[in-house]
Amino acid sequence: MITLKLAFRNLLGAGLRTWLNVFVLSFAFVIIVFVNGLLDGWNRQAYDDTKQWTAGSGQLWHPSYDPYDPYCLQDAHAPVTGAIATLVKAQQITPVLITQASIFPGDGMQNVLLKGIDPAQRIIRLPSAALKAADDYIPVMIGKRMAESAKLKRGDQLLMQWRDKNGTFDAKEIRIEEIFSANVPSIDNGQVWISLAELQKLTGLENEATLFIAGIQYPGGDAGLWKYKDLNFLMKDIDEVMQAKKSGTSIIYLLLLTIALLAIFDTQVLSVFRRQKEIGTYIALGMTRWKVVGIFTAEGAANSILAIVLGSLYGVPLLALLHRTGIPLPESVDSYGLSISERIIPYYSMGLILSTVLLVVISSTIVSFFPTRRIARINPTEALKGKIQ
């Protein structure tokens, strides 16, 4: 206690030098919390959006289904019968049938994934109710990214070509009934959503599905041949991208932290040289050498405590404001392939704040300790004369 008390007195007595170190360190502290809060906020938003728009509470996949292999779709489907049909009827899961198709917007042709979903489903947020049956065209819906890339708008009619279960080509006019706005590119880019019954009819895959999206009532686990994929599995891509982003951004704030720590290190080295007489006096007054090491180390560590206090003074209002307003992101980040909303709301968890506080305090203490270790070898009679040893 006395060590901390003396350390704070000495530190505050050092004036401007202390405040310069403290400001740089506080800046590093705020930046670390901000950047990690931004990524955590992005992660949470991506996780929630992906869950609400596509993953549900998990999915049941046909054993042959591989989302990265469009050629698997020819075989990745099976009839909805037995136990799985009961679950569908109980609205615990909703079936999705996926096949390949081509659309002809304007002059060109575009390959798309044609996804059939029950218009009455309530498990994911997709506005599938828009897929009402019509006689002379097939009502479909697409995402806004798809609409932008294919230059399509609501009410547009265009030709769509697909193969049925026997490989026979067929084509029919489709009409864009709805353009939905979702933050999840995986249900948007290159995809056309259609009524499940309509797709089953077009392909001849009556009562068949490729996968099922589970609602919160579904307890989890495989169902017959359908393999259960939990949220950890379905969010793996998001987690990996986030980890990569965190590693990249951590370089920036670690550099900033290093600069701040170097300033503390430098101050500590100077202190041990310039305050020889003071060190000698402490020892003459009855302090052990290691207690003096403790005071000097605590002085360095106290920089971090002052930095956290100072950082909180300007950081808390600033970060709270950003939490309220969110941070607009440029459209180019869509290319990350992640679920990204127009504004990211940073999320500052207690764990993030505590871990950052610990990082700053521990790293400051370590860099403060190394230069002060030499006090333990100082000759007090020389130190009392102020001789640099």
């Binding site: 000495n10 050092a14 000698g280 003459a284 007054l285 302090m287 052990t288």
Partner: protein, 235 residues
């Protein structure tokens, strides 16, 4: 050696390494100091006064011989034991005052008591009493930079005395002071020596200080060349 001997130096030598050779600062010193003495080590620069004080103050250890201070052999003490001895029993007064610049007068004097983990009330009472002894009770909030040299040295005396040590070692306490201040601080120490029975040992070559000493030990080239009990001599 009398019963109230608190320092006993027997055949004490101190050598320092100098390049490839050695420099002997103290040669076979044998001395004893009794409780309540007001003694001074005098002699020219380099005669070994400060080295002797450092050994007595457990800041240094002898190369040969024995230094027994308050019943313990200095050479046998660990760093911790030596620190405890200084903290509880020995006060230091330095030529350059060695006050801690960021602390106030009160905090500087309080420091030794903080190390002894005394309560706030005890500390406050003792610090104010010590500052009254040296006539600085009205400067408690001042910083050392705001004080004159004489005032700084009086703060140093208060800091040395506040813990009521058995022994105070003063290394050239008047060297940076004018004649009036020199006399003032020595008079203060003499008064404390009489009132509190604290033993004072000076290292000095200031004649104004010597006027007040009861015993003058003259050192030259690390040897005791004279040891005069001034009181007896006057009588």
């Amino acid at each position: 050696m009398s019963d109230n001997t608190i320092i006993s130096l027997n055949n004490l030598s101190r050598r320092f390494k100098m390049g490839s050779g050695e420099f002997t600062a103290l040669h076979h010193i044998t001395l004893a100091f009794s409780e309540g003495e007001f003694a001074g080590l005098v002699g020219p620069s380099g005669s070994g006064k400060t080295t002797l004080l450092n050994i007595v103050g457990s800041l240094d250890t002898p190369s040969d011989g024995e230094a027994i201070v308050l019943g313990v052999s200095i050479a046998s003490l660990s760093h911790q034991q030596a620190a405890l001895l200084r903290n509880l029993n020995i006060g230091f007064i330095f030529q350059t005052y060695n006050l801690l610049p960021v602390y106030s007068v009160f905090e500087n004097v309080e420091f030794a008591l903080l190390l002894q983990k005394k309560s706030h009330t005890e500390r406050k009472k003792a610090v104010m009493e010590a500052l009254e002894w040296v006539g600085l009770a009205d400067k408690v909030k001042s910083k050392p930079a705001q004080l004159s040299g004489g005032e700084c040295q009086r703060v140093a005396i208060a800091r040395a005395m506040v813990k009521r040590p058995v022994l105070v070692l003063a290394d050239e306490p008047s060297a940076n002071l004018d004649a009036q201040n020199s006399r003032h601080i020595v008079q203060t120490m003499k008064r404390l020596n009489k009132e509190l029975k604290t033993t004072f040992i000076f290292a000095t070559h200031d004649e104004k200080v010597m006027e007040y000493l009861d015993r003058i030990i003259t050192l030259n080239d690390g040897k005791v060349v004279k040891d005069i009990n001034v009181v007896n001599a006057k009588n």
